[in-house]
Subunit: 625 residues, 2 copies
């Protein structure tokens, strides 16, 4: 049901609750209140690029790959598909009594933080470095998730509010210091858009402090900006165990009750964690008022009524059957998105490959036959992964012979513990020498870049130290290039890397369950690349400020003063487009775009504006063309 | 070249070596002797069911699955294919200068130990519990590996000599005590056959003691039986770091030099490990003679000459190109073997499934989409795994919809750390309820059963505690069966399990790279099952002696006094066979076998003999029929 009606019912319901009962609703594992017909509910659910961690679901490309499509209409279709699967799974699971974590309808997605620094391991979860692109894609994603029905299809969550982009290793104690200009022009606009344009139902606070205040207990962020300035009406949730950080790591409070009091005071309604179990104690200590608890509880009950999972009315989505999950159509959509997400960064003319002219294709690399590199992090479980090797083999069936070598481990010195380092290098070189062309699949996966605590890797806590490939992959790349045979380099990563290129370089991100099919379609030219970089690819971290420096100066295409390796918005096609008749009239820019090449292709039309006369302009810079 | 000529050259070569140089040849990482034209060589290589640990190679079913084919001709074809791939890889790798571990031609395969107790984690590497079957398949495997050319195609190795079958946890200090009857009728016959019939080039000693002597330094085993009685002419290698066990764990010696001396005294020529680096010290201490070192070195050089990898003559196999590795034909062979290896243990008539009559097929279980369960241990890397789910999906394409649920972890309580136990149970039940039939894929993989040190699991050191499924899988099985819908249970394991059955039960072992295709062909009836159990499936470990008891009394079909769950040799077909005109004449039994059913199928004809009048018969028992 709609918010006003839901709010009314929530108020009535909460009015019947005791203080104990209200308090029992404020952590992510909300207890049942049988006497009031309130079932238990676990608020923690994930849907970053498909319903995650809840069993079988369509796995779409990782968020950064979706961003590379620059396609907000497609983004909304993806999110609509995800929420259909979420409802299908919810209906199935709750009918069988499973209401545990990841099985609910409050999705802690999308991640609309600005990918400020390429070292951040969680940058893969974002829509890149540009506030405008992030806002457009975020709004579309939330609209797709939440739907436009009488009830919320699922509740989306804009996270992590705000100014949050690493380092992971120190996120529990770090203070991100941002100038007002960067706050308002970089870190906040996407959140504002999701609140104002998409009516996002939930906002999650970040782990770190922002300009001195812990984000989940920040007067400036939660009260002044989010509630008072933007008029946010949904509920606020803490990041998981972030409120514990107040006293344990940020040291802005001394005790758990003080932390609970600080967070709820500024409007953090729901605690992912257990500090809010201290809420009654905080009440007794006089740190918290009954009104604060009541309001938080009302907001949470409002969301549940809006979802149609409280009370008797139900939801129009209750009839979505489990058949709607993991369908052929959704797989096809995942493939389309993957095709549109991959970015062709260099091509000496070798691509597209003419399969009929090839006798043999080498497929080499630790990511060539890897499922992990299709997935990224926060992923579901697909019933139909197609690895790069599998996709290429299928395309080559009956035509060219495929030779495979793992080539190297993702980051360890060798594959076999007892062997000398680089123990697959000879095989890789032999394959490259043997074959007419080699597709070399390098890069990372979520064991190398990701979230603090989730990754145990050669880098620190999920972040990268630099933009280089792991040493063993660098050795592999060098050896394969040294053969002098044609090499197409395919990079899987959620962030910018700086590598040598072969005859062509394709940035594949983490392309989801159909990644291998999509890659083959691009390599062999049944589809033309149309993806564009949603982040700047730098030549190296030497060109960048310190990772901990949250000033945007000399970061992203908007402020970077150096020469990028590949710029934001960049991406090649197999065809040519001609732009004519550009005109600007009353806020609308129109242009005629004509495909003058030989094959069908998508084109991402980009417009960059700059106000040269603005007093806030950092320095004169040419408009990007 | 042949042994006599190789031996002559080896003697001439070793005669030119200094003592230091000779000693440098006795560990698995043999040093180069440039002045004599002797290149470095790593003796440690594996080919249990395909070239292992050396990169891309065809992955055949695990040894226990090959055994279930009861087909020695097929076994020889498999081994011939493996040795072709080994030569192809060796030629490629050594041309590129890679002569490291796993890249050589001395294969430490097959494992012909008797699978005495179903708890043994390495039983999967064997050909089962029967000395005769083990001998026939072992001989065929060695003949296939070694070839019948002028040079050895590769050198095979009969391991682990002798009386070696767990427990893994105590293998470095355990004394296996076996009666003479069991030695000569159970533990030794397969080794004798491989030496006498297949001229196996190498024998590897076991870790444990046998009747008080460490196997790798046993006068009885190595000298009296192997060399003096059987006339073994090849070289003997220790299991890896087994000689160190002499002083560190068995405590039969006090020092490393004493251990080296004991091992070489009884003819252990090659040390996998580093104790033989003490050989010069042992010489100085007077524990070892120069003659002993000379003989060991000569035997090792003889093998290298026989392989054509020493001297100038080369081998007729030097022309095998890398193209011979990982071919379509080898994949097809792997599929055929997998089809013949799976054993249909029960079938209420549900199999074969009529694909045209099905709207939906559920595929459930931690092994349904698992590559690990295709592989077993000591495996290569395939370029074309087909999981059960993938095989079934392909068979159902355009016909029935496939629903998938992982169902449970292999052994952990849940999939997601934060979730309640059994967090995929609802999904699995929903799938089973939804579908016309469910294929439930349970069992183990090499993370649960395998070798001490290689597995970190809920069982101890790779062995099983009992014959039950891990608890989470038991819960899954119970829940799916409870739906009352048709269920075909597919068990992947290298050893006997005792589980409930669904409407049908198929024992798939670890079926190799084409396991999914093979399974689908059997399920949907394009191929009839023909595999037979190479081990007894017991109802539980309560029916068995202690794991540490090496008496064969009450073990295996030959001596078990209880009622098995499924007997050795058992396996159902989709058709019927009629046996007529059995006759016995001068050592040959002939019988006419007619397929009286409706479909083509293989039949394994088994004959069991017993000498009722033998004074050595343990007790009167009926001949098995």
């Amino acid at each position: 049901m709609k918010r006003e009606q839901a709010k009314k019912l929530a108020k009535e319901l909460v009015a019947k609750m005791t203080l104990d009962e209200m308090a029992s609703q404020l952590t992510y594992r909300a207890a049942a209140i049988p006497r009031l017909g309130v079932p238990a509910y676990n608020w923690w659910n994930e849907a970053l690029h498909g319903v995650a961690r809840a069993g079988t679901a369509t796995v779409f490309p990782q968020a950064i790959g979706m961003a590379a499509t620059f396609d907000d209409a497609l983004q909304q279709t993806i999110a609509d598909t995800i929420s259909t699967e979420a409802r299908a799974k919810y209906n199935m699971q709750s009918a069988l009594g499973d209401r545990d974590i990841y099985k609910g309808l409050t999705m802690w997605s999308p991640n609309i933080n600005i990918f400020r620094d390429p070292r951040w391991g969680r940058g893969q979860e974002t829509y890149g470095e540009d506030p405008y692109l992030t806002a457009r894609l975020g709004v579309a994603f939330v609209k797709g998730l939440q739907g436009d029905g009488d009830t919320l299809k699922v509740a989306a969550c804009a996270k992590h509010f705000a100014v949050h982009s690493g380092p992971e290793a120190i996120r529990h104690s770090f203070d991100a210091v941002a100038r007002p200009k960067d706050m308002w022009e970089t870190y906040l606009p996407a959140f504002e858009a999701l609140v104002k344009e998409a009516d996002v139902e939930s906002v999650m606070g970040a782990y770190n402090r922002v300009n001195g205040e812990p984000a989940c207990g920040s007067k400036v962020l939660l009260k002044d900006i989010l509630r008072d300035t933007w008029g946010f009406k949904g509920h606020i949730v803490s990041d998981c165990w972030a409120i514990r950080d107040f006293h344990e790591n940020h040291k802005v409070t001394d005790t758990a009750t003080q932390s609970a009091a600080l967070a709820i005071k500024y409007g953090c309604d729901l605690n992912c964690g257990i500090v809010y179990l201290q809420m009654l104690a905080a009440l007794q200590e006089g740190l918290v008022t009954e009104e604060q608890v009541t309001i938080a509880c009302e907001r949470l009950m409002t969301t549940r009524y809006m979802l149609g999972i409280l009370g008797d009315e139900g939801s129009e989505y209750d009839t979505i059957s489990y058949d709607a999950c993991d369908t052929d159509a959704n797989d096809a959509l995942a493939q389309t998105v993957a095709e549109k997400s991959m970015v062709l960064l260099s091509n000496d003319g070798i691509l597209p490959l003419d399969i009929d002219a090839l006798e043999s294709v080498g497929v080499i690399g630790p990511n060539a036959n890897s499922i992990a590199c299709l997935e990224g992090n926060y992923m579901g479980t697909s019933s139909r992964y197609v690895t790069y090797l599998e996709g290429i083999r299928k395309a080559c069936e009956g035509k060219a012979r495929v030779f495979y070598s793992q080539g190297s481990h993702l980051y360890k010195k060798g594959i076999s513990d007892l062997a000398l380092p680089d123990d697959r290098l000879a095989e890789a070189v032999a394959v490259a020498k043997r074959c007419d062309v080699t597709v070399l699949c390098l890069g990372l996966d979520a064991t190398l870049e990701g979230e603090e605590g989730d990754t145990g890797n050669e880098y620190s806590s999920g972040d990268k130290n630099d933009l280089a490939l792991p040493k063993c992959q660098q050795n592999l790349l060098d050896a394969v290039l040294k053969t002098g045979k044609p090499v197409v380099l395919v990079l899987s990563s959620g962030s910018a890397l700086a590598t040598k290129s072969g005859n062509a370089l394709l940035q594949a991100w983490y392309p989801g369950q159909a990644g291998g099919t999509a890659l083959a379609n691009l390599l062999f030219g049944s589809v033309s690349p149309s993806g564009r970089l949603p982040v700047t690819f730098y030549k190296g971290v030497d060109d960048l400020p310190e990772f901990t420096d949250y000033s945007m100066q000399n970061r992203t295409y908007r402020y970077f003063e150096g020469e990028p390796l590949y710029p934001f918005g960049y991406g090649l096609s197999y065809t040519k487009f001609k732009y004519t008749d550009a005109s600007y009239q009353s806020g609308a820019l129109t242009v005629t775009v004509q495909n003058t090449g030989a094959m069908d292709a998508d084109e991402v039309v980009q417009v960059y504006l700059k106000d040269f006369d603005s007093p806030f302009a950092v320095k004169p810079q040419p408009v990007r063309v």
